[in-house]
């Protein structure tokens, strides 16, 4: 199974030139098989750089990355094979689409896996359904679609690989609220049904709080916080100092506290907020 282990990771862009930039530094962590992880952090904190190391698209300047116990940078063969295990949806979908038609674009991965034509067709349709890509779009060029449609196709192209580890870099940016919820729900059910590890980079704290089992917060290229949503969101001051937000439920609870209404327990989802308010109300009535 595919446990991810990262040791002493450091990445420097344009090393040895005047434009040298340390993007991540001193990152060590383990993500067990089947975890749903949310990655948060301010703009430029190194999230995208970090996740591109997990499928060997970027090679570490220092440090090692293991997937399923195998050092993925051991040789060019391990670097290629890890792509079947770890599927990555890029932050900017327009950079991910390159085929002439939507159908061919989604089929690109399965075709590289040398699957049979029927199998490819089946996977394409399934992946399209997952990402809500209309089959009517199949013969269009992916480049002439809207931003949201492009993002769905990019997601479908990776889902078609059926990766054991699914990584999505801001998968819902640019989607309408309904599409957003739907995609996140589909990701959650993929996670449940296949037992895959899922890593989601997001700037949306509400979504992250709702679905993630674990949250990793990056700050200036280092891991600043790492724990359950409960632990991470119990320190809102720290998050705000890092230029991040807290979930709306948490900030509402903080506002209530300031107004003299103390709520019990840690609150980071709407459900928890509702329960806590109800409990507080009962306590008052008595």
């Amino acid at each position: 199974m595919a446990e991810i282990k990262v040791e002493g990771l450091r990445h420097v862009y344009s090393a040895g030139t005047p434009f040298e930039k340390v993007a991540i530094e001193d990152v060590s962590l383990t993500i067990p098989q089947g975890q749903l992880v949310g990655v948060i952090g301010h703009t430029g904190s190194g999230k995208s750089t970090f996740i591109q190391h997990l499928n060997a698209l970027l090679q570490p300047t220092e440090g090692k990355v293991f997937v399923g116990g195998q050092d993925i940078n051991a040789s060019k063969y391990t670097r290629r094979d890890v792509k079947w295990q770890v599927g990555l949806v890029f932050q900017y979908p327009e950079y991910q689409l390159f085929e002439e038609t939507v159908y061919r674009d989604i089929a690109f991965g399965p075709r590289n896996m040398k699957l049979s034509d029927e199998e490819i067709d089946q996977r394409v349709r399934e992946a399209a359904k997952f990402a809500q890509v209309d089959e009517e779009l199949f013969e269009r060029s992916p480049l002439e679609l809207s931003g949201g449609q492009k993002r769905r196709i990019a997601i479908a192209g990776v889902i078609a690989l059926r990766p054991g580890v699914l990584i999505l870099d801001e998968p819902t940016a640019g989607l309408d609220p309904a599409g957003c919820r739907q995609i996140l729900d589909n990701i959650c059910s993929y996670h449940r049904e296949s037992g895959s590890t899922v890593i989601i980079v997001s700037h949306n704290m509400d979504d992250t709080a709702r679905i993630a089992e674990r949250i990793i917060a990056f700050d200036h290229g280092r891991v600043a916080m790492d724990g359950t949503p409960e632990q991470v969101f119990s320190e809102p001051e720290k998050l705000i100092a890092m230029g991040l937000d807290v979930p709306r439920a948490t900030s509402l609870a903080m506002a209530l506290k300031k107004a003299g209404i103390e709520l019990e327990g840690s609150i980071y989802t709407h459900g928890q907020l509702l329960n806590a308010v109800l409990r507080a109300k009962e306590a008052r009535v008595c």
């Binding site: 792509k83 079947w84 990555l88 390159f98």
Partner: protein, 265 residues
Amino acid sequence: MLKDITLGQFFPGNTIVHRLDPRTKLILVVVYIIALFQAKGWISYGAVTLATVLCMILSHIRPKNIFKGLKPMLFIIALTALLNLFYTEGREIIPGWHMTWEGLERSVQMILRIVLLITGTFLLTYTTSPIALTDGLEMLLGPLKKIKVPVHEMTLMMSMALRFIPTLIEETDKIMSAQKARGADFETGKLMDRAKALLPILVPLFVSAFRRADELAVAMESRCYHGGEGRTRMKTLRFAAHDWIALILGALFLAGMFVMKRYGI
């Protein structure tokens, strides 16, 4: 990886050579090339080499950067040298072999000539930003507008091409990453397979280049661009004292070369 390619790229700086007017530098490069082709004997080659080294020192360009730019030309240089070595009549070095002392001398001079030629033009592109270069070119070629040569359009095209080379390289990198992420294989496999894997990069690259061109045109039009007629510049080029001095030195140098040619040295 791909980004490390240098294409006569500009090294920003503030030396006297950087501050020269681009028109001066363009004229001087032409003068330099003419002078170089007047060199016949070792003394005149020595004079050009000396002038080149002097310019390199003045502009703080390191030899390392020149060598880097020369690398792609190595094949042509070697070929020229070999041809000259074998196809020049004269005294044979080893009897029976078609290799002559005269040929050896010629081929060393040819190598020197090509290296100096490239170095001279590199000095121009290393010390002049592409924008300044095309501005200077446009003004120098300005008189041709009288006979309906579209000078402004030509130089505009040139500066855009220069501007978009790095962008296209970056784009290629991104498309390759996207394909690699879904299992395209550029590293393992047979040479033929790897070459085939490169092909699908070209199509999206062209598509995106055309799209970019389209977007650029819209952006220019929405800022009321309407060609060269009556356009003013943000930076007007002006000749300063050092430009005149440089031009006079260039003229003297050229005259000197003609004299040396006369005496065959």
